[in-house]
């Protein structure tokens, strides 16, 4: 497993996993690996994650996991027009300045260092998705996606975010996971209502 992680890179892997779980609009997602070796490593990792996530798939109401295709960069550019309409995940974009990405990347690295396995990460991510989906199904969250100027509306939004934080803390216990879950929720809510 450490060979697979080293081949892909923890930042790249975090970007792939985060893109996968937050893509709610496209049915298909295409991951573009640098080379054949990286492609094979990603296929194993993504399959392992999806195997764990599939246990919870039927519980999800708002979040849907897209179909995933993994290609090398040459394979992609050779037939790039065929992938128009896919959500594209270029590993070069893993340097994106996104706080959720930094949190997940660090969490991934620390967990693997401690347990020499990513299973806990997959399980935690699956739990986060279920909790986020549950909140999205119960509450009307369009206020989270708005550019608010009104003071009262801003206050209302802050209170909603605090409630979510408490909800996640109760279920996830760990502050880093809670912060990640909150960021994922805000991101998905914004996408849903844009």
């Amino acid at each position: 497993m450490s060979g697979l992680i080293n081949t892909v890179g923890d930042q790249n892997l975090a970007y792939v996993l985060l893109s996968l779980i937050t893509e709610i609009k496209k049915d298909n997602l295409c991951i573009i690996a640098e080379n054949e070796v990286q492609k094979e490593a990603l296929e194993i990792i993504v399959k392992d994650f999806l195997d764990i996530l599939s246990i919870y798939k039927d519980k999800l109401k708002k979040i849907k996991i897209p179909n995933i295709l993994i290609v090398t960069v040459d394979e992609y550019y050779d037939k790039w027009e065929d992938y128009s309409g896919y959500r594209l995940v270029f590993l070069e974009d893993s340097n994106l300045k996104w706080s959720a990405l930094s949190i997940l990347s660090k969490y991934l690295k620390d967990t693997f260092k401690k347990y020499k396995s990513l299973e806990f990460v997959y399980q935690d991510l699956s739990n986060i998705i279920v909790l986020v989906d549950s909140l999205l199904s119960k509450a009307d969250l369009d206020i989270l996606s708005m550019d608010l100027e009104n003071k009262d509306e801003k206050k209302k939004r802050e209170n909603i975010e605090k409630n979510f934080f408490s909800y996640f803390l109760e279920n996830l216990k760990n502050k880093a996971k809670v912060t990640l879950a909150t960021k994922i929720l805000l991101y998905i809510a914004e996408k849903m209502y844009e």
């Binding site: 496209k26 550019y77 027009e81 128009s84 959500r87 594209l88 270029f90 994106l96 959720a100 550019d147």
Partner: protein, 294 residues
């Protein structure tokens, strides 16, 4: 190697169909500041942030031009890539390229060049009514016939073959595969013709014409004339290396530039085009072709 070249050209083509999205951590004001910083133009920033994530590079450029912002697709691509490399944007997807029918006149034929190494291929037509001319054996005439000369009898057909120098055929493939000319025709309705020609081989490599009565042979002649005179003038007056020439006629502009390998690029624009737009698009087109050549 050929496949790698093809992939390279497709990579080149794909860039203009990319849809970029900003990092989720960036608000509207953050984006405006960043675009102003990286583009150094407030007019671009205010428009782009309305459409980023929804439009591809080509469409963004078109949208800006409709708002009288003089900018090319290449300019937009460069700005977005800078932001991407700095971690502010990512590629979310691509749009589907539209295939517009364009009046395309592509000539890739030069005269036959027969060398001793290339035998002339010929077919013999046999028909009942044709009277075959008697062939006189060489020994009867006591003539030494060089090996490269073969007797040609009535009815034989010499096949003509087209030849583009190898180092130029790569450029032709790139321009076609990346659909460079088509893109510029689409984005700039003032363009009437784009011609890429080789002075060395004296052929037109690629050309497109739209509602203008010009053929490749005429284009070749005018390119040769303009570029030769421009070079002479630059030399005589000690102006430095000749780069571009603009010809301003009553109904049209012609912009012409000399590139590597003695290749000439020329574009004919309708006379009503804004000069700034014409120069920007021509230089952007030139940059793309130079990038393909390198």
């Amino acid at each position: 190697m050929k496949r790698q070249n093809k992939i390279g050209f497709k990579r080149f083509q794909q860039r203009f169909y990319r849809i970029y999205k900003p990092s989720p951590d960036l608000g509207k004001n953050d984006l405006i500041k960043l675009f102003k910083k990286f583009s150094k133009r407030a007019d671009i920033a205010n428009v782009i942030i309305r459409f980023i994530g929804k439009m591809d590079v080509n469409s963004l450029a078109r949208e800006l031009r409709e708002r009288s912002v003089i900018v090319s697709a290449m300019d937009i691509f460069n700005i977005l890539e800078k932001l991407r490399k700095n971690g502010y944007l990512y590629i979310a997807g691509t749009s589907i390229p539209k295939r517009k029918p364009v009046e395309e006149n592509v000539q890739a034929v030069s005269q036959v060049v027969v060398t001793p190494q290339q035998p002339i291929e010929h077919k013999v037509i046999e028909a009942d009514e044709i009277i075959k001319a008697p062939s006189i054996p060489p020994e009867a005439l006591d003539i030494d016939i060089a090996p490269e000369i073969q007797a040609i009898s009535i009815g034989q057909i010499v096949e003509m073959t087209s030849v583009i120098p190898t180092h130029l055929s790569k450029i032709v493939d790139g321009v076609r595969d990346a659909q460079i000319f088509e893109r510029y025709l689409e984005i700039n309705e003032y363009i009437k013709a784009i011609v890429l020609a080789s002075r060395e081989a004296n052929i037109v490599l690629c050309s497109v014409y739209r509602d203008i009565n010009i053929t490749d042979s005429i284009a070749l002649a005018l390119l040769a004339t303009i570029s030769e005179h421009s070079e002479s003038v630059a030399q005589v007056l000690n102006l430095g290396e000749f780069k571009e020439t603009v010809v301003n006629a009553e109904r049209y502009f012609i912009m012409l530039s000399r590139l590597k390998y003695d290749v000439v690029l020329a574009t004919i624009f309708e006379g009503s085009i804004a000069l700034g737009l014409m120069i920007r698009d021509f230089l952007s087109l030139k940059r793309e072709i130079v990038e393909l050549m390198s």
